[in-house]
Structure formats: C-alpha cells, structure tokens
Amino acid sequence: MLDSLARLGRVGLAMLASLGRAHLLLISILRGLPSMLVRPRLLLVQIYGVGVLSLLIIVVSGLFVGMVLGLQGYYVLSQFGAAESLGVMVAASLVRELGPVVTALLFAGRAGSALTAEIGLMKATEQLSGLEMMAVDPVKRVLTPRFFAGLISMPLLAALFSAIGVIGGWFVGVGLLGIDDGAFWGQMQNKIDFDEDLVNGVIKSLAFGLVVTWIALYEGYDATPTSAGVSRATTRTVVQSALAILGLDFILTALMFGG
C-alpha cells in the first residue's frame, strides 16, 4: 500500500522536476538570443533545416486538405442550396483551425523529431560536452538558433498551408464543381475577418511553433545518452507535441472564439 503510494509520489515528483528543467532550459535558450543575433548564419542554417526542408510536405498536404474540404463542403452545402458559401467554409476552417493545427502536427513529425534525434545524438556522442570543454555554451550555440528557427518557420509554414489549401478548395469548387468564381471569393472576403480570423490563426501557429520546438529541444537535451534513450526521446517528442498541440488548440480556440 505504502509502496504504491510512494511509487505514485515518485512519478509525480519526477514529472514536476522534468517540467522545471524544461522551463530552466527555455530561460537559458532565450538568454542566448543576443549572442545568436551576432551570428545570424547559425539561425539561417537552422531555418533551412527546419523550414525549407518542411516545405514539400506542408505544401502537398495543404493542397490535398483544401481539395478534400472543397469536395466534402460542396456535398453538405449543396444540400442546403448554399454551395456558394464553399469559399467561406474552406477559408474559415483552414485559417482558424486546420492551417495551424495540421501544420504543427506535420512540423512535429518532420522537424521536431529530427531536432530531438540530432541533439540526443550530439549528447550521446559527447559533442555537447566537447563544446563545453572548449568553453562554448552548447545551449547558446546549438539550442537557441534551433528554437528561433522553429518559432520563425512555423507561422510561415502555417500561412503557406492555409493559402495553398484555399487555392486547392478553389480548384475543386470553381474548377471542377462549377461554383461561381466571384461568389467564391466575394463571400469569403465578406465573412473572413482580418483581426478575428487571420491574426488569431497566426497567433495560434506561433504558440504551436514555440511549444513543438521547445518540447523537441528539451527532449533531445534531456535524453538518456544511449541509442535506446534517443529513440525513446524522439517518440516522446512526437507524442507529447501532438497532445500539447491539440490541448492548446482547444484552450486557444475557447479563448479566441468561445466568448
């Protein structure tokens, strides 16, 4: 009885300690900002790895998500004789929800896992300790550029996803199903509000970018320095990122659109 209570307590304490380490890591990552600004090349290389290499999967998924939304939305809306509202439906669901959320999920799988594996392996092969031996702070040198690369890339990727998705919906709705072109764009512009929809979508994607990159970097930095440890850390990154994205999305949606 007491043993199981103690086990529960140990799990709880370990979770709290891990949460605390994650926040301490975030603080020291942010402290590295000035030294990173001196060397923008480090950031550039990471934006290439995190953002540019994620472009293909984001663009292709955005296109297909938009086209599927167009097909399914047309099926439902045409039953109410409101097929012209397809543009509103496609754009609203992409800009508000699907753009930031699906992009963040793909981003966690494509870029987050790679970050964790890279940093975990750096730790396992003692490259991080090597940097420390040379009096280079591994957090400032390795983690900070990756963090800001994720933070910058994520909103841009989400905007691309939404834009491509709208074009995909337009292609299906106007091109294949014969909805009027003017009605498609006109109703969309009438109903999609810049402040309420677009700005909130960008805020969401920024928040997801922060959370995913943070989880990925922390899991890599905190990984047990063995092959099994790095593999576990990579799995944890993807699972925890996905859970955090979906939970955070509910909270943000409730705050932004619930009232």
Partner: protein, 156 residues
C-alpha cells in the same frame, strides 16, 4: 561557399513564400482589402427592438454597404436599444430624415440595417441621430399576431 550561398537563397525563397502566403490570406481571403475600419463617422439610432442584430453587422442603402454597426447599448431611460453606426467617410450625403430599418438577409440569415433615404436637403454628420427607425421583425411575434387574428376571425 557555394553550398552556404545556396542555403541562403533557399531560406530567402522560403521566407518570401511565407510572406506572400500571409499577404494572399490578408488581401484575397480576409476582409482587409474591403473593410476600411477606423475611418468614418458615427451615427446613432434608437430602436424599440433590434432582434438579433450584432456588432459588425452591415449598414446598407439600396443594397450597397455603407458601413457597419459599431456598438449596441441599452438606453435605461427610454428602454430602447441605442445602436451606433459607423459610416465610411465617402458616403457623406445621407439626408437627416433617413429611415433606418432592421432587415433580415434571407429567411433565416443574419440581420442588418437598411437605410431608406429621405428628401431633406440637410445631411447627417458625425454624432447625429437617425430619428425614424423601425424595429426588427421577430418571427415569434409575427406568428403570435397571425394566430391572434385567425382566432378573432373564428370568433365572429
């Protein structure tokens, strides 16, 4: 060196693409290009019942959108709804005896304010009040009146 140059170019392309996408969403998808928010002048109107009129609902004349509903308040003295309308600056020739109605777009659509121009030579300016208003049609009241009139017919 060539590799670094290539990655620089690709990052530049990526960021440019991202900003183009944001710009596309702002100008083509959202109302940023059509809505001239912030600029304009305010008119007020008192309604006995505004139905389900909301803030940001369109204000139209002859079907053309002139502005939007800026705020909705309750007047405790007259027990009426005090609606503030924001009209775009370029529409500055609205006569003082204009009539404000609350209409419904479609059978069950959202409600908006339709203005019927009067014949007065004087025009409304910032802060002026539209005197003549007509309340929203509330579907339940109409059904109630209809039933009442039917019942009266049956009684005779």
């Amino acid at each position: 060196m060539a590799r670094i140059r290539l990655s620089e170019i690709l990052v530049g392309v990526f960021m440019a693409l991202g900003f183009v996408a944001l710009f596309f969403l702002a100008m083509r998808v959202s109302n940023l290009s059509t809505a001239a928010t912030g600029e304009g002048y305010n008119l007020t109107a008192k309604f006995d019942n505004i139905g389900s009129l909301r803030v940001r609902a369109p204000v139209t004349m002859a079907g053309v959108r002139l502005g939007r509903v800026e705020a909705i308040d309750f007047d405790q003295e007259t027990y009426q709804a005090l609606v503030t309308l924001r009209i775009e600056d370029r529409y500055d020739q609205i006569p003082t005896d204009t009539f404000a109605n609350i209409f419904t777009a479609g059978l069950l659509g959202e409600q908006y304010i339709g203005l019927d121009p009067g014949g007065s030579p004087e025009v409304l300016g910032n802060g002026d009040r539209i005197e003549f208003t007509q309340s929203a049609l509330v579907l339940e009241q109409m059904i109630g009146q209809f039933l009442l009139s039917k019942a009266e017919e049956g009684g005779e």
